[in-house]
């Protein structure tokens, strides 16, 4: 059946997030930006609303609400501040990574701290990117070397979301040096592990409240049990992780696009020029109409992708079409959010450039957000590979240091 109507439960959840956004997030976005983070009381309330664990399955301690519900909540939250869903405590991408790449037992253990008291103060992180491509061979420069009872990790990871706050990491490293992008491994690493150094947080164009940084690993050792094998097909599991994570980011992009659109719509109603509201000029009105289509179309695509993953979890449909819909949604949503931010500032004129108005922040955030999870370029390559039925090459479709680094 085709239906565009959220369930009663979903409507209630969205309404409570909307209320939280209205009272605790939207009035404070410039404070979060200046303080480069969200205060503890806000993170605590978000945690009580169950936002951090919504997308994760019940079997590993998550709320088991499914991705369709998760994207609704992500959009709502991001409509208040696109930085908020990244900066709230919780497992974040780490949770998705351990679920997709680990066994149920590994996921349950790794996620336990995030279900206990004080979880609003805990962060997880995924260390994927690296500062430079490897000049000698395809693949990651960070290496995982087999030891007697586990693995030794060496290398520098960059573009890591919440690197300075995370208690635990999933670190990607080269396991098989001759296998290129098919020779990767993933490892659970405790932030306090000897040899792990957290690098300085970077200053970014947008999403100022979000911490982006890196880690350095010098002879960090982990037991064999810390390796996440990705079931029987590591690369496929890796695609699922990237796709689902990018889909949640895309949902935030929808929230961002909507916020920029709504602010701009109100502005063109009130701002007058040549004796009438500027919205009554066709050049302005058509731009507003185009951006409205962007918001609605990107939301619709995000819903379809999320519903495809949820259907897959019920044993319906196939993974390739879920990947395809996700790639389409991600690429579309990133570009749409950027257009909404850009035109938002444009229709505000000079005022849009000033920090008195929130729209310049949204434009900066839009570009920043498009560099999180997966870029439109990589999503397009993934979509094309699925459509053309060619073997999906991780070196081509995943955002790697060799092609285009992203924040994960």
């Amino acid at each position: 059946m085709i239906s565009f109507e959220p369930s009663e439960d979903q409507k209630l959840m969205v309404a409570s997030v909307a209320e939280f956004v209205r009272t605790a997030i939207r009035p404070k976005i410039r404070d979060f930006e200046r303080d480069r983070g969200l205060p503890e009381d806000v993170r605590k309330t978000a945690h009580e609303l169950g936002l951090a664990l919504a997308a994760l399955p019940e079997s590993v301690g998550g709320a088991g609400l499914g991705l369709t519900t998760a994207v609704l909540l992500e959009e709502e939250l991001a409509s208040g501040d696109p930085a908020a869903p990244f900066a709230l405590g919780g497992p974040g991408p780490f949770g998705l990574a351990v679920v997709e790449l680990g066994t149920e037992e590994q996921a349950k253990d790794a996620l336990r701290p995030f279900t206990e008291a004080g979880a609003h103060g805990r962060f997880g992180a995924v260390a994927w990117g690296e500062p430079k491509p490897n000049p000698d061979r395809p693949g990651l420069s960070t290496t995982a070397t087999k030891t007697a009872d586990g693995w030794r990790l060496d290398g520098t990871k960059a573009y890591v979301l919440n690197a300075d706050r995370a208690e635990s990491f999933v670190v990607f490293a080269q396991v098989d040096r001759d296998a290129g992008w098919n020779g990767l491994g993933a490892f659970l690493v405790d932030a306090r592990a000897p040899g792990l150094v957290v690098l300085d947080r970077v200053t970014t164009l947008g999403l100022d409240a979000v911490s982006f940084g890196g880690i350095e690993l010098s002879g960090v050792t982990v037991p064999e049990s810390a390796r996440l094998l990705g079931g029987d097909d590591f690369t496929r599991a890796l695609f699922r992780f990237f796709a689902k994570n990018a889909l949640l980011v895309a949902a935030r992009g929808v929230g961002l696009a909507r916020a920029a659109f709504e602010i701009t719509r109100e502005y063109v109603d009130t701002r007058k020029a040549f004796g009438k509201p500027i919205g009554h000029f066709q050049a302005v009105a058509f731009t507003v109409a185009d951006r409205a289509m962007d918001v609605d179309a990107s939301r619709a695509l995000v819903w379809r992708a999320a519903a495809a993953w949820d259907a897959l979890a019920r044993g319906e449909g196939d993974e390739r079409s879920a990947l395809l819909l996700t790639a389409e949604a991600v690429a579309f949503a990133h570009e749409a959010a950027m257009r909404c931010g850009d035109d938002g500032v444009q229709l505000h004129g000079g005022a849009g450039f000033m920090r008195d108005y929130p729209v310049e922040k949204l434009m900066r955030d839009a570009k920043q957000l498009g560099l999180c999870g997966m870029t439109a370029e990589h999503a397009d390559q993934l979509a094309a590979a699925v459509t053309l039925g060619v073997p999906i090459d991780p070196g081509l479709v995943l955002p790697t240091p060799e092609t285009q680094n992203v924040f994960v």
Binding site: I2, H280, F286, D380
Partner: protein
């Protein structure tokens, strides 16, 4: 209710059946029809029969008819609009002109159903009774709104009507009328006084053979050449008063005009879906071409640029398709959908044009050559009008922005 996008068993079966028809029966003739400027009646009769047996309203009852059925007749939740949208995309994938040529009331159906008196509905729809029998001629209805001097600006029509005894006398010209020459009757919009604007508008069902009612030129078009597009001329055309759509009392208010416009809320997602079907045809062809020429042999440096173009087209179509589904779903739910219907149409027209342009570009020289198995150049010609008829892309943006911006009456 829940957010869900899996098709029902009935929808899947219908879609598969219509797709098979489009692929194996319709498409092989598409280029020949395009060159001949028409589709043989026997073929149309067979198609219409098949469509009836599949229960596809898009093909038999007239575009968007289901959604325009009066409250009492419409079975809420039956999903008639969605069903039609799904069928239309598949049919248009086979050949867009066929859909426009199918016998039945066509675009004339919705206004008669929405505004006609019970007597009028009976009289005008009974024209189509039994027309699929072997010994009966096929019949069509048509919709005459556009004039040489008034296209998008519907309120600016100049075709005049004045009451004279038991008749109305109509004078003017209507153009770009689909199936206009072959139609048994055409819904004609005229005005008692252009100064009155919309309040002066009247809609008539003008029957073929009415004295003073004649066919002007048959248009020679860029694409959709198998579909007949005619000019209709009204010279002191005397239309009986019982053919005034809805009867005189209906025009005391502006309602008459508004009902005429309302039919677009159902037809726009359908036209959008057809555009998606044509765009998808071009996209599918380009994907196959790339697979055949690049992927299975040596990857070339241009490959990533081509896949990027393909993916951009693919997601544009998917977004437009989903908006068409949404607008149709809203109509089926009885929700007001004027804005969403315009969004669907505006996005689909552009996404599909983009698909056809890119597909030819990707295929290079071969893409521009017309053969029975290579229809890209035909789709390129066919698709352009999908951003023009049923309201241009610009008109859709007017409809959308009026629903977003406060007190916006006109520009």
């Amino acid at each position: 209710m829940a957010i869900e996008f899996s098709l029902t068993k009935k929808q899947l079966e219908m879609r598969e059946a219509v797709h098979g028809l489009a692929k194996n029966v319709i498409r092989p003739h598409a280029l020949a029809w395009d060159r001949a400027g028409g589709i043989p009646e026997d073929f149309l009769r067979n198609m219409a029969r098949l469509a009836t047996s599949m229960g596809s309203n898009a093909m038999t009852a007239g575009l968007g008819d289901e959604g325009n059925a009066p409250e009492g007749e419409r079975k809420r939740g039956m999903g008639g609009n969605l069903f039609s949208v799904l069928a239309s995309e598949e049919l248009a994938w086979g050949d867009p002109a066929l859909l426009l040529c199918l016998p039945g009331p066509g675009l004339g159906g919705p206004p008669v159903r929405a505004s006609g008196t019970p007597e009028q509905k009976k009289r005008f729809f009974s024209v189509f009774d039994g027309m699929l029998d072997d010994d009966k001629p096929l019949r069509w209805g048509a919709y005459g709104l556009t004039e040489p001097g008034a296209g998008s600006d519907v309120a600016g029509i100049r075709t005049s009507c004045r009451k004279d005894g038991k008749h109305w006398v109509l004078n003017g010209r209507k153009c770009y009328i689909t199936n206009g020459a072959r139609a048994s009757w055409t819904v004609i919009f005229a005005t008692v006084d252009p100064a009155l604007g919309r309040a002066g508008h009247r809609a008539f069902v003008v029957e073929k053979g009415t004295p003073g009612f004649s066919v002007g030129r048959i248009e020679d078009k860029m694409g959709l050449r198998a579909s007949e597009t005619a000019e209709l001329v009204l010279e002191d055309c005397r239309v009986p008063e019982e053919n005034l759509l809805g009867g005189e009392e209906r025009y005391v208010s502006k309602e008459g005009f508004m009902t005429a416009m309302k039919t677009f809320d159902n037809t726009r997602p359908l036209v959008g879906a057809m555009a998606c079907g044509i765009g998808r045809a071009a996209y599918d062809y380009a994907c196959e071409f790339v697979k055949r020429n690049y992927v299975l042999s040596r990857p070339i440096p241009r490959y990533a640029a081509i896949t990027e173009r393909l993916a951009r087209v693919g997601r544009g179509l998917e977004a437009a398709r989903t908006l068409c589904w949404r607008a149709a779903w809203m109509a089926d739910q009885g929700l007001p959908n004027a804005k969403e219907a315009s969004m669907a149409k505006a996005m689909a027209g552009q996404a599909a044009i983009r698909a056809c342009i890119e597909a030819i570009e990707i295929c290079g020289a071969e893409g521009s050559i017309a053969t029975e198995h290579q229809l890209l150049e035909k789709w390129f010609r066919d698709i352009k009008v999908y951003d023009i008829f049923e309201g241009t892309g610009q008109i859709q943006r007017i409809v959308i922005s009026k629903r977003l911006i406060s007190d916006l009456k006109s520009f």
